[in-house]
């Protein structure tokens, strides 16, 4: 793990930086993925299907993983409170349904409603993170859990009337809401969708992910983005340079929460369903793991880490499911593998952290 902290703003020294920038976990997961692909080929699973699924799942998870970048760069650490952003997104999404919107209008309304909400929640969350410096990750995890549990109450009690998402009897919203009903299922995936051979490319979805990835990349080249990064790398340097670190950390967490909100909307449309109640509870962990697999650490992350990580992690999971099912009939080894890889990589990252209150 050379050059853990490299952020590579300078021009690439092509080969050297290509190799030194890739960490051990990234290589392991990549090799593992390649291995399952080869195994899949031998047991006769269509490569095209695997690649199509990989593209789709990478695209739908991408923005959620992207939400890690601002949080990590600002020094708060991986955003384990991602469910906060997610429930904001879901709230925007169901509000948009309640407003009887349809199709693209529904999608944009969802985002428009979710964004200010997530910004407000992110602001409060950022303040909380400033109060608990040193133990951000633990507190963030439980903040996320608490919000999800609290929202369970809210989903059960909201006085929404739209039959597309209510229970057949009684009050409250359904656990999964079909987005077909509002013309929202795969609406981005299907935009400019095309097939290259047998591989289906969900152009709209990938473009959306690419667009947000570009925005985040651009942001970290702006004056404010540079200031946020500096505060994360070396708070004392940033303080001496007259930066308001606490304010920057709040801003970064606002950004992260908003990305989480938009991320879940994009995720839901691709999935075809919006999952409420306890579904968002554990969603932060795969997102954190994906960023780490891509080469991020608990204190440094780049957009490139997100792209590499989400493709590798989702690729591996998508491939492993049919392949292991084919080899060991009737077992869900891929879920077990997800648990071990996802939590293993987070533990590995934690062993590299050198700070914290006693």
């Amino acid at each position: 793990m050379a050059e853990l902290n490299e952020t590579g703003r300078g021009p690439l020294k092509p080969l050297r930086s290509l190799f030194s920038g890739i960490g051990l976990p990234t290589v392991i997961i990549a090799v593992f993925w390649a291995f399952t692909l080869v195994a899949g080929h031998f047991v006769g699973i269509s490569m095209a299907t695997l690649l199509s699924d990989t593209l789709k799942r990478a695209g739908m998870n991408g923005i959620l993983v992207l939400a890690m970048v601002p949080a990590i760069q600002s020094g708060t650490g991986p955003n384990f409170a991602l469910p906060m952003g997610i429930v904001c997104g879901l709230l925007g999404l169901v509000c948009a349904i309640e407003l009887n919107t349809f199709g693209m209008v529904w999608l944009l309304t969802s985002i428009a409603l979710a964004t200010p909400l997530a910004a407000a929640v992110g602001y409060g969350y950022g303040k909380l993170m400033n109060a608990v410096k040193g133990s951000e990750m633990t507190i963030a995890t439980y903040s996320g859990f608490s919000i999800v549990a609290l929202m369970c109450l809210a989903w059960l009690m909201v006085p929404f009337r739209n039959p597309k998402m209510g229970w057949f009897i009684g009050q409250g919203l359904r656990e999964t809401i079909q987005l077909d009903a509002v013309g929202g299922a795969q609406i981005l995936n299907n935009f400019l969708k095309f097939s290259a051979g047998d591989v289906i490319v969900p152009t709209g979805l990938l473009l959306t992910f690419g667009f947000f990835a570009f925005l985040v990349w651009l942001f970290f080249r702006s004056k404010l983005g540079i200031a946020i990064s500096a505060g994360g790398i070396n708070p004392r340097f940033a303080l001496a340079a007259g930066l308001d670190i606490d304010k920057n950390r709040i801003l970064a967490n606002v950004l992260s929460t908003v990305l989480g909100a938009i991320g879940i909307i994009v995720y839901s449309q691709s999935y075809g369903y919006a999952q409420l109640y306890t579904a968002p509870l554990m969603m932060a962990f795969p997102a954190v793991a994906a960023a780490l697999i891509g080469g991020a650490t608990a204190s440094r992350a780049r957009v490139s880490h997100v792209v590499i990580g989400v493709v590798l992690f989702q690729g591996l999971l998508t491939t492993a499911l049919p392949v292991t099912n084919e080899i060991f009939v009737g077992t869900d080894l891929s879920e077990i593998m997800r648990m071990i890889i996802q939590n293993g990589i987070i533990l590995y990252a934690l062993t590299q952290v050198k700070r914290g209150v006693q």
């Binding site: 384990f80 109060a131 990750m137 549990a149 077992t331 077990i336 648990m339 996802q342 533990l347 062993t351």
Partner: protein, 429 residues
């Protein structure tokens, strides 16, 4: 009891310190006020069986806190060890007391090994032990599932006709019946050894505590350590014990609804008391003092020549073993092994319980654990009732108690860190 030591502090400080406890007491009382459906008999039956079932697990959290590791969410690994032992016993159809003893022994060996590895991990994630302990629980769950769902059957071949193996011969079933003890199984293997009416137990425990309090007071005084005594706290605690004893005696005499409360398992109770005694005694040994030294200041301990890493690993190992035993006690009472779910929540529930009792990341005692277990489970029983009677939906109450679990942990940890940060803030003077 800790509240009394803080008499001199400002009331606001006291409230902040005990915020979580206060919320819970208020909530439970509120539950009694609004819900009409809960009978005293039902409430105490539920509460006592839950307390007997969970106390051991909650008590297993104390030592890591004292050794400075914070709240060990990693006790789920101990729980998995306990379940593995039970699964082995069930597979070979061991039962009764001997089966139970086998479980304790096998679980201890497994838990020592797992606890050692976990302890090493905590040493590598210093300062982030709590998040690490949470994640390592998830990680271990993956390995557990790999073994129970896949290795059993694919790697180790087992007969598909065995009642705990899935019909296709691979993996252990979702739920495994532990078979009642009188049919040679493990269900109630501990609880059924001896049972006593609830009020009798209450009377004995209350009087026992009273005697203990007085004896400690007197001994301290005689040994010239009178400074450890506090008369007001003796009076309050003694008064509480007396009141409980009086309620019990009154119930016996008048044959009140309390007599209808389910019987209590004596041996389980003795084991819990035994663990309390063990915790007290080990903290009075050299090892216990090392735990405290490391917990108070790793730096000072290191400088004085204490092997900090080793001490922390030992603390983790003890905690893991205790959790494994706690899970066995829990499961023999439940009667079924919920193979893939029974352990997942116990880390968070136990942590929440001890926090409700007034513990924090750096402070925990037997009082916190027992009081917290009682209060936490009271809330657990009352929540659906409150949901039902206030909103007409029991489900609401269930979501609410989940929120309370997470919220309690979040708030308690948050307050602790916030206060520590405030204390460490640089000032001009």
């Amino acid at each position: 009891m800790n509240g009394l030591n803080d008499r001199s502090r400002a009331a606001g400080e006291w409230i902040l310190e005990n915020l979580v406890t206060i919320i819970f007491v208020a909530f439970t009382l509120f539950g009694f006020m609004v819900s009409s459906g809960v009978s005293v008999g039902y409430f105490f039956s539920e509460l006592s069986s839950r307390v007997f079932r969970n106390s051991f697990l909650v008590l297993s959290l104390i030592i890591p806190v004292l050794a400075g590791l914070g709240l060990n969410f990693g006790i789920v690994i101990g729980a998995m060890s306990g379940q593995a032992a039970i699964a082995i016993a069930r597979y070979y159809e061991m039962g009764g007391l001997s089966g139970l003893l086998f479980c304790f022994a096998a679980a201890a060996i497994l838990a020592l090994f797992c606890g050692y590895l976990t302890g090493r991990l905590y040493n590598k994630t210093r300062g982030q032990e709590m998040i690490a302990s949470l994640i390592v629980g998830f990680f271990a769950n993956g390995i557990y599932q790999f073994i129970f769902l896949f290795a059993v059957g694919v790697i180790v071949s087992v007969p598909a006709i065995h009642p705990m193996i899935k019909p296709d011969g691979v993996g252990i079933r979702m739920t495994v019946d532990l078979v009642p003890v009188n049919q040679g199984g493990l269900k109630y293997a501990l609880d059924n050894i001896l049972q006593a009416p609830f009020v009798h137990s209450l009377l004995v425990v209350a009087l026992g505590l009273l005697v203990l309090l007085l004896a400690r007071y007197w001994l301290n005084k005689r040994r010239g350590r009178g400074h450890l005594n506090s008369l007001p706290s003796l009076l309050i605690n003694g008064g509480l014990c007396l009141a409980a004893a009086a309620v019990a005696a009154h119930a016996i005499v008048t044959n009140s609804p309390l007599m209808m409360v389910r019987k209590t398992p004596v041996v389980t109770g003795l084991l819990i008391i035994g663990l309390c005694v063990f915790t007290v005694l080990i903290m009075k040994t050299k090892l216990g003092q090392d735990f405290r030294s490391v917990g108070q200041s790793q730096h000072a301990a290191e400088v004085s020549g204490i092997n900090v890493d080793r001490t922390r690993i030992i603390a983790t190992m003890i905690s893991t073993v205790l959790a494994a035993w706690g899970q066995i006690i829990y499961l023999q009472n439940m009667g079924t092994l919920n193979t893939y779910n029974a352990h997942t929540q116990i880390g968070m529930f136990s942590v929440a319980a001890i926090l409700v009792g007034g513990a924090s990341t750096s402070r925990a005692s037997i009082t916190h654990a027992i009081f917290g277990t009682i209060l936490f489970n009271a809330m657990f029983i009352m929540s659906p009732e409150i949901g039902q009677s206030l909103f007409g939906q029991a489900l609401l109450g269930e979501y609410f108690r989940t929120f309370m679990v997470y919220g309690v942990i979040g708030v308690a940890l948050g307050i602790h860190v916030w206060k520590a940060n405030k204390k460490n803030r640089l000032t001009v003077d």
